[in-house]
């Protein structure tokens, strides 16, 4: 996590990849989204998706998993440079989430995150809001998922 002042529009992080196996698709679906096309190959083939498809919330949850892991890597990198990275705040929400194409069993998604805006907040002194466009592409390079996320970041302010 960084201070608000260290963030520039266009900064991009590669978050890594994740393969959606049939087993993991079904396990997530049984818990959170047990629609037939997320649980059963045949029902998936007959659906608009054309095969056993991951729940959109599974695709989104994996993105969060990779975002957190990337944040932990960035924190370790900062600490190895002798810096003391700040603790980030929570997120007020997101907009424009799109499940552009189905994610089918066996697909491997590669996720990335790019800063699109950064501003101070009037309501929380000492904090600002970072907006980023987070995207996943499949093994064919097709975009399958994206959303515009927001998160509170502390300002360095006069302390630095």
């Amino acid at each position: 996590m960084r201070y608000l002042e260290d963030i520039q529009i266009g900064m991009r992080r590669e978050l890594g990849s994740f393969t959606f196996t049939a087993e993991s698709i079904k396990a997530f679906a049984r818990q959170f989204d047990p629609q037939p096309f997320h649980l059963d190959e045949e029902a998936g083939r007959k659906s608009l998706f054309g095969g056993l498809a991951a729940s959109g919330w599974h695709v989104a949850s994996v993105c969060m998993k990779l975002l957190v892991a990337d944040g932990q890597r960035a924190k370790a990198e900062a600490e190895s440079r002798g810096e003391e990275p700040p603790v980030g705040g929570p997120s007020p929400g997101f907009r424009d989430l799109r499940w552009t194409r189905p994610v089918l069993a066996g697909d491997t998604l590669t996720y990335s995150s790019e800063v699109v805006s950064v501003r101070a907040t009037a309501t929380r002194p000492g904090w600002g809001i970072l907006q980023s466009r987070n995207v996943a592409v499949n093994q064919r390079g097709e975009e399958v998922y994206s959303f515009l996320g927001s998160v509170f970041l502390p300002q360095r302010g006069d302390a630095a």
Binding site: D33, Q35, F49, W57, V68, P92, G93, W99
Partner: protein
């Protein structure tokens, strides 16, 4: 009897739940998908902006999906969703919360390119037992049409 596009008219559709939230499920989701201290550990969480252990916002999304499914989607001709217009995490959800889901139909139209497919835009909101709104989601769901219009 399966609910189809025709069953979703603008206005209040229904209220579902309550769904009881346990500490164990908050931590289990966080360990797998969102291992930040405020979702894993009471001591670290008490120092965060959210002041106490709370569930991941993405866990909230996934729980809303399950409540939507249990509430009505399991008996609806659902064909999936293209995305979410907006999600607002307005307040943290906590171990022990009993969450209620309110469902409102914002608008309903038939797809121009596929007359067998309806697009219903919903506003889903969750609240806890104290009546505090936890989350609000605006999202379209594709729902099959019972009797496609012919001749156009």
């Amino acid at each position: 009897m399966t609910l189809t596009f025709e069953d979703f008219k603008p206005g209040h559709f229904g209220t579902f739940g309550p769904r009881h939230i346990t500490r164990d499920e908050i931590i289990a989701y966080a360990k797998e998908y969102d291992p930040q201290p405020m979702h894993l550990d009471e001591v670290a969480a008490s120092a965060s902006m959210l002041k106490g252990l709370s569930g991941s916002g993405w866990h909230m999304c996934s729980l809303m999906m399950r409540m939507i499914y249990d509430g009505f989607l399991h008996k609806t001709a659902s064909m999936g969703s293209p995305g979410v217009d907006q999600m607002r995490w307005l307040a943290p959800f906590r171990p022990g919360d009993d969450l209620t889901l309110d469902v409102e139909v914002v608008e309903a139209r038939v797809s121009q390119s596929r007359p067998t497919l309806g697009i219903v835009k919903f506003k889903f909101s969750t609240r806890n037992a104290k009546g505090q709104t936890i989350s609000e989601m605006i999202t379209p769901i594709m729902i099959g049409v019972r009797e496609p219009a012919s001749g156009n």
